[in-house]
Amino acid sequence: MNKQLTSTFSGSPRSEAGADALFGEGAIAKFQRLSNRAMIYMLALTMVTVVGFPLFWMVISSFKLPNEMYLFPPNFLPAEWTLQNYSDLFTQTSFGLYFLNSLIVSVGATSLSLVIGGLGAYSISRFRFFGIAGFSRITMLCYMLPEVLIVIPLYIYVVELGMADTLFALIIGNTAFTLPLTLWYMKSYFNAIPASLEESAMIDGCTRLQAFRKITLPLALPGLIATGMFSFNHAWNEFLFALVFTSSESNKVLSLGLATWIGQDNIYSWGMLMASAVLVAIPVMLFYLLVQRKLVTGLADGGAKG
């Protein structure tokens, strides 16, 4: 290792000694540490401000009165805090309906993805029969395909099967899209649960399926929750499939509904748009905050070894 003691901030040994004499020992090192700290805090603050500003702006604007939205120069805090935008959202628009539709599609796609993907992942993790490993690898390729490519033939399917303009088509489409991720993630998760636990259960009196239900599943719960969150998030935000598969007002999901409003350039309802933005963002943020805790405990609880 290079014997040069050249750290970014150090001076020559003589000046250090001088400073030590004046300010006490190790003064320069201490000063370096403090200025490092200060710089970090400053950078962190800048970063948080810059990144967080749009979100701050969104929330703040949602509480402003409609006419306040068009002030130039704009107010940074509402002159008058109001919930009018929120109430208008539910009374004057189909926002409530969109919200419900999104919920149906997201919950539906997430459940299907978890059940189908979870079982499939278990199979890939535990069994070595012909074709299983190969299938697992091919699945990863699916991730490389763009939505735009898939949506064309899927649209043809949907129309030919008479499923055009249904939420069902969206549920299936989103399940298909989140399935590869579920398979991959849960496979890793199952791999981390020792197979000997299931073997022990089978010796203790379970069939393989009973062992899966009583032993593996409870231990895989954190992983399922994490995957579920990803799937929910994806379905909640998904736009292209909704755009292509559905058209009527009653079947619109949030992403599509909001998009139509944007497209219409409704200058007079920015307040409602901001309110809708807040409401659409909340479930996902909440979900994430809740899941964060669970994710940490994870398999620290589980495992049979020391």
Binding site: P194, S196, L197, E199, S200, A201, M202, I203, D204, G205, C206, T207, Q210, I215, P218, L219, D301, G302, G303, A304, K305, G306
Partner: protein, 353 residues
Amino acid sequence: MASLEIRNINKVFEKHKAVGNIQLNVADGEFIVLLGPSGCGKSTLLRMIAGLEMPTEGDIIIGSRVVTQLPPKDRDISMVFQNYALYPHLSVYENIAFPLRMRGWKGSKLDEKVKWAANMVEIAPLFERKPRQISGGQRQRCALARSLVREPSVFLLDEPLSNLDAKLRQSAREQLRDFQERVGLTSIYVTHDQTEAMALGDRIVIMDSGSIRQIGTPQEIYEQPADTFVATFIGTPPMNLIQGENFITGFRPENFMPESFFDINTSLVKVPFQPYRAEYLGDEKIYYGATRGPFFSDRVIARVPNTFKGTIPLNEVSTFAVPEAGLHYFESGETGKAVTRRKSEPNANAREH
């Protein structure tokens, strides 16, 4: 409790023959150890007895039932895994109760049995804890209690002591054997540690590369090894093997000592020995050296107890000896099977140097 018979078992994985032609009869209540190096097939054999693998050929018979096609849960066996396989989300009590619950046991009947099993290994005070909250030794006892609670016909153990640190291993070994004797379970124990095998087993089954090399009591295995593999696997340091013209001669280091050490009446074969290194081990010294004379070799090991008061200078030739009774003979070549040497045959040795 029941007897176990392994008849003609073969297991082939794709192109690889893991286990071939295994025959074994285990008596009711016997403690059998499957011993061998990694990859010898001992774990595969154990798992086939358990029902976790299906044999390609052959049968497993427990008591009078042919269980080969039965799933593990119907074989009336229990198993302790290397990592204990305790259910992490269940308490110690529930872990032990699990096998009974699967059979539909409930209420006070269940409770009594769980307590009985727990008391056998003194783990009752830990009932409410979860596996991650107890120590390695305690987990092992919990696994034992869980295996015991159903009073199975056959008890299987897959290297259950290898996860314990050395100190704990010794006392755990004692407890284990004690436990087995008290309960009288027919047990099959897998290990690669020969000290463990010798200490625990009624009989030892030594395996290598998928086949059985020898079955015998510890004494039989040690004093009458069936081939060179067994001869060198058992015993630390391993038996000295010297290739001669027609045979391989073998003698154990503890039988190879200075001539003056032996009693006058013992029939000896004298061997000049020049050690190049000595290790002091407290109660004995181990010498590594070369021999000339009847057996030529560059690496022979001798174990000399420190009760021997003479000096054995390094890099000088001393006269050592082996009692005739301590000589073993083996076929040259692959098998290295043990043979008895007829007095008339040319002496098995002698590459002149």
